[in-house]
Symmetry: C2
Subunit: 365 residues, 2 copies
């Protein structure tokens, strides 16, 4: 992150703080800390007040010095809460001003901080998160590069998709390819063979690939803190009629939903369009939502779901991932990452190079 970006983000945050009459905000959520400083470590809090201070410990001091932009780094020896109080004391903020703390912190942390400060503490909901929803050009470029690298890694993996390989080993191959390309897995990779595909968050196990199996791969790549999230479904050998029909129903639903995406459209409408397509094609609706925001976290606001409130905003990046799951048989999900624009959208995970574009059913073997 460059200094300009860091300054702009802190400035926007200070505006929100002023509106909410908060003089100092304790940012405890790791991805919020990353967003404001560029720091990619853990167990560190950011105190935004008279100064901007990253409170970390010796495990991260060197890393913070290398990564942080525009903030003071404090290496704590005492517990976090105590260090925060020491900083506030220095600022002479303690008695006179209002302190905010994020509602995503644990109840325990809130209690400790409240006790340490002996003053009123304002609970802040969704403040930094609201800034994070709108991605700038740098962020969308990073997300795009992550998605492209994901396809590249998958392309190097397909040669290993052979009868006898386990879900677990294939996961290892795919994640190795991410690492070889200098990135890392963004979340636990999901690889399911055959009936395991109907378990939406299946953990890759000892199931071996057989001829005529179906394959579902849901995976992401982390790059500079940002995470891609894409899914492809394959058939190994000639697909069954039922699988083929379901595959094209999911593909149709995904295309229909993406076609609806543009600034100002209701979140729940995108969900409805995908769901109705699946139903019209004669399949059961899927249990999960149609998509979610994407960025420093793999799941963040906004959510494309039945009961979602609000509208799409230009600059948001969302996944679109309808599916069909037939317990005992197979699961199909097709997922891409989409940038919302004023006039429509751009599929950031569009693949023009590796053969994973959203067209025909990919048959392996």
């Amino acid at each position: 992150m460059n200094t300009e970006t860091a300054k702009a983000r802190i400035r926007k945050l200070r505006n929100l703080m002023r509106k909410n009459e908060i003089d100092a905000l304790l940012v405890t959520h790791p991805q919020n800390v990353t967003y404001l400083t560029g720091f990619l470590g853990e167990d560190s809090w950011l105190l935004v007040g008279r100064q901007v201070c990253l409170v970390t410990d010796s495990r991260y001091t060197e890393q913070a010095r290398g990564e942080c932009v525009g903030c003071k780094i404090i290496e704590r020896i005492d517990p976090l809460a105590q260090t925060v109080r020491q900083v506030l004391d220095k600022w002479k903020h303690r008695k006179t001003n209002t302190m905010g703390i994020e509602s995503s912190c644990t109840f325990q942390t809130h209690k400790i901080i409240r006790k340490a400060l002996k003053s009123k503490l304002l609970i802040v909901d969704n403040m930094v998160e609201s800034l994070r929803q709108t991605k700038d050009d740098t962020e969308t470029r990073i997300l795009q590069k992550a998605a492209r690298t994901a396809w590249r890694a998958l392309a190097h993996t397909t040669a290993h998709i052979l009868p006898g390989i386990t879900e677990s080993e294939l996961t290892g191959v795919l994640e190795y390819q991410m690492r070889r390309l200098g990135m890392s897995p963004g979340f636990p990779t999901i690889i399911c063979f055959g009936p395991n595909g109907s378990r939406n968050h299946h953990q890759p196990g000892s199931r071996k690939l057989r001829k005529k199996d179906t394959i579902l791969i849901d995976f992401g790549v982390r790059y500079q803190g940002y995470i891609s999230d894409t899914t492809r479904s394959f058939s190994y050998g000639k697909p069954s009629k039922e699988y083929e029909k379901a595959y094209y129903a999911v593909l149709k639903a995904q295309h229909a939903a993406i076609a609806e995406i543009r600034h100002g459209v209701e979140l729940k409408q995108i969900d409805a369009v995908a769901r109705e397509t699946i139903a019209t094609e004669g399949f059961e609706p899927y249990g999960h939502g149609t998509g979610h925001g994407l960025g420093l976290q793999v799941h963040e606001d906004p959510y494309l779901a039945k009961k979602a409130k609000g509208k799409l905003q230009a600059g948001q990046v969302v996944t679109v991932e309808p599916g069909i799951y037939i317990p005992g048989k197979f699961g199909i999900r097709i997922e891409d990452d989409v940038l919302v624009t004023k006039t429509g959208c751009k599929v950031l995970s569009e693949d023009k190079e590796f053969g994973f574009s959203r067209k025909t059913l990919p048959v392996l073997g």
Copy 2:
């Protein structure tokens, strides 16, 4: 997990609940849910009251049916808090009884639950966690198997440790080996070459291995939810005098600390022994603690640290991991997993097979 174990754990929890006058406890911490049910998924809560109910969603229902022992599975459609209220309503618990919630939940969750229940909510600190500290034979066997598999994976990785390989790619090789052996990385693997070793939580990057580099590998394997955590430090080619001296200082500190471990010894004493050895050998003390509890989480109580209160208990499993870090030069850490017994301890990560035992400085290349 077998039914007996699940029943015994719930029984112990109910005893604690009775002592604290809690009729129903909402378990929100993922690893606490795993401990009580065997369920390895996420985003699911356990309600322990008249019945034991896992509240999950459609993504995890199939998985929960396969993994859960001795509890009812409720697939929610409504938000979690609402579903919890519905269950309590069925039990007619809502108006008359005391409900507990874990202090590790977010402030937000606490607020939502409190609102949904319209009744007093007791904050529960460390209740399931206190049960988790004492490992039974099955748990220590799992941890031992995880650590052995970690060494096996590392043994298959050493052939790839050659000049030119990046930290990131080597991480990919090691994690692939874990997957090939049917397990998975327990936490983000740390591999550092040369001066990167002094950054305690370095993320493997594009640094390439050079001749006469030093190597630090801190890694864990997850098996049945449990995580091993071990570190080894290597020299690639002939080590420098300084590195060699530091290596043996760390080794001496680790042996001295492990020799002290037995039921009833003060936690801070283990830390002091390791730290004093490092100082006596003429090196700066390390900034992190000497060790931490290990189990379903990679860091859990008890902590072996300067200001730690309490004593070691038989059945606890802790890491012992002193280190020496010289910024700009290298980092050394040697870490093993140790079971506390009544009369002493047992090193669960003892390696008799792969050549990673804690004796001489391992030289590669």
